[in-house]
Amino acid sequence: MASVDYSGPLTPTGNLRRRRVVDRLARGSATAAAFLAVAILLIFIYSIVQHGASVISFSFLTKNPLETFSVSGNAPVGGIGNAIIGSLLIVAIGTLIALPIGVLIALFLTEFASPRWAGPVRLALDLLYGLPSIVIALFLYGLLVVGHGQAGVYASLALAIIMVPLIARTTGESLGLVPKELRDASLALGISRWRTTVGLTIPSAFGGIVTGTVLAVARAAGETAPVLLLSNLANPIQTSGAVFSQPLNNIPWDIYNFSTEGGATNFAKAWGAALVLVTFVLVANFIARALYARSRRMITR
């Protein structure tokens, strides 16, 4: 190559200048996109806090709405107490249903299934995860609500369907992190496969299982479509723990109602309820991350 003078100064020659510009552009836009995502989250959190923080008070968190939405345009008093309780109940029952099923699926995939079966089951889980929640809700509405009426537990079922693939995935991943050598060690001691799984593999992966569950709970708590269709309380004044027979008020439903009702007070309350929900989701995510990091350290050290 005669075009390069090997003894010349080591500054850019030929098309290297252009390549450097392209490189900077690509690097710059990728960095900008990444920062955009962070910025969106921060702006989002900032505006929720800005609008919602003013209504947060002890009575807002504990009191029920005092009047039916349809009667009063601007409910001056009342809070989201029963919505918090309702959301907690609905999500808790959904978790109780989803957790054992999700863990068992993960055990099947990592410990017992032959590759021929694991593939299709994984695919099914991914598809289930991708199902729009409104479709799941509609399915349960047609199956259960029509003819029986609404109940909080139906929303729990829908949330469970949403949570199962999430829990199965994260649990499966952390079970897969448990080294094969540990299982071999246990098997070589004359311990059966199942005892090895229960006594060694699951405890080793426990942090991952908790993490997956917390993430699933965070996701389910904010799911709106299921509670909208399956547990929308016409009269949000009442507090009821009758999760198996009645619809329960819940935070997404409150946010929806407060915001569609209009009026400055109601809007503020919608923001307040949103702040409560987002705080819960964010805190749950941080907890999950910490637990996951800890369990990884425990296993892989």
Partner: protein, 303 residues
């Protein structure tokens, strides 16, 4: 090696060998000086057979991995298996307690008995097999539990709950690690050094009082000092256990084992199949090997 000593042709070395062996019966006439134990007295009349393998073939899927292994392993002996990588020595050892069962495509033909019982007969429960034939692996693999629970876990599950503290202490003493860990039984086993972890794994194996200990390259991840302590331990354990050790380290086989099996690779016919070349008393195998391939290997002229 032959490159390093160009003046000596293989033939001349062959000629030299018998004379040198006679002169120093416990030394190898080879560039690789290997210390060999004193030849064990011939105990052919009294020794008890634990494993009896006859014409054992192991397949992984269609591929024949190890072919035609015939050997007897004797009670309270240390039996070493040496040979190059991929020659099937680990495969054979893992077949002795059915650890290969979980490997997909694994199949074993031929006779493989343990105290006269066919290990691969139908009705044999691999869990029961492994309860009697323990195994220690290449990399130390303590459970992510406390030192105490590492030892006590299996006895608890197997119903050996009486005097558990004593059992744990006995196992840890048996594995020569008690003095190092007695003050921190409740702390995590993962905090131990590699050598300590490996001795803990041996303690864990002997805590359930097995009959046989299979050691699959137990020192390959350890430094020389830890290796020495594990080797000393094997000598102490052999009065109570039958020990089979796979090792890449010929000196180790020479130091610890009464009998040694040399495996090699048969690459004829486009296949790579492990074969048992020679199985004999260690001293004899290292000083007067019957097979040229064994000699090439133990003198470091392999390949």
């Amino acid at each position: 090696m032959s490159e390093a000593t160009p003046t000596r042709s293989p033939e001349s070395e062959m000629d030299d060998r018998p004379a040198e062996v006679e002169a120093t019966s416990s030394n190898v006439a080879a560039p690789l000086a290997i210390e060999v134990q004193e030849e064990a007295p011939d105990d052919a009349a009294t020794r008890q057979v634990v494993f009896d393998l006859h014409d054992v073939n192991v397949y992984y899927g269609q591929a024949l991995a190890v072919a035609g292994v015939t050997l007897e392993i004797y009670k309270n002996h240390i039996t070493a298996m040496i040979g190059p990588s991929g020659c099937g020595k680990s495969t054979i050892v893992r077949s002795l307690n059915r650890m290969n069962d979980s490997v997909s495509g694994f199949r074993l033909t031929g006779q493989c008995t343990y105290h006269g019982n066919d290990l691969y007969a139908s009705g044999v429960d691999p869990v029961e097999v492994r309860r009697r034939i323990g195994m220690v692996f290449q990399r130390p693999n303590p459970f992510p539990k406390s030192i105490y629970d590492n030892i006590a876990w299996a006895p608890r599950i197997l119903g050996m709950k009486d005097n558990l503290d004593e059992r744990v202490e006995k196992a840890l003493r048996g594995a020569a690690i008690w003095d190092e860990v007695k003050d921190r039984l409740k702390s995590s086993a993962l905090g131990l050094s590699g050598g300590q972890q490996q001795r803990l794994c041996i303690a864990r194996s002997i805590a359930i009082e097995p009959d046989v200990l299979l050691l699959d390259e137990p020192c390959s991840a350890l430094d020389p000092i830890s290796t020495a302590s594990v080797e000393d331990l094997m000598q102490e354990l052999k009065s109570d256990y039958t020990i089979v050790i796979v090792t890449h380290n010929m000196q180790q086989a020479a130091r610890v084992a009464e009998r040694t099996a040399f495996f090699s690779l048969d690459v004829s016919e486009g296949r790579r199949t492990g074969i048992l070349v020679e199985y004999d008393e260690t001293a004899k195998l290292f000083t007067r090997p019957a097979d040229k391939r064994t000699e090439d290997y133990v003198t470091g002229r392999f390949g």
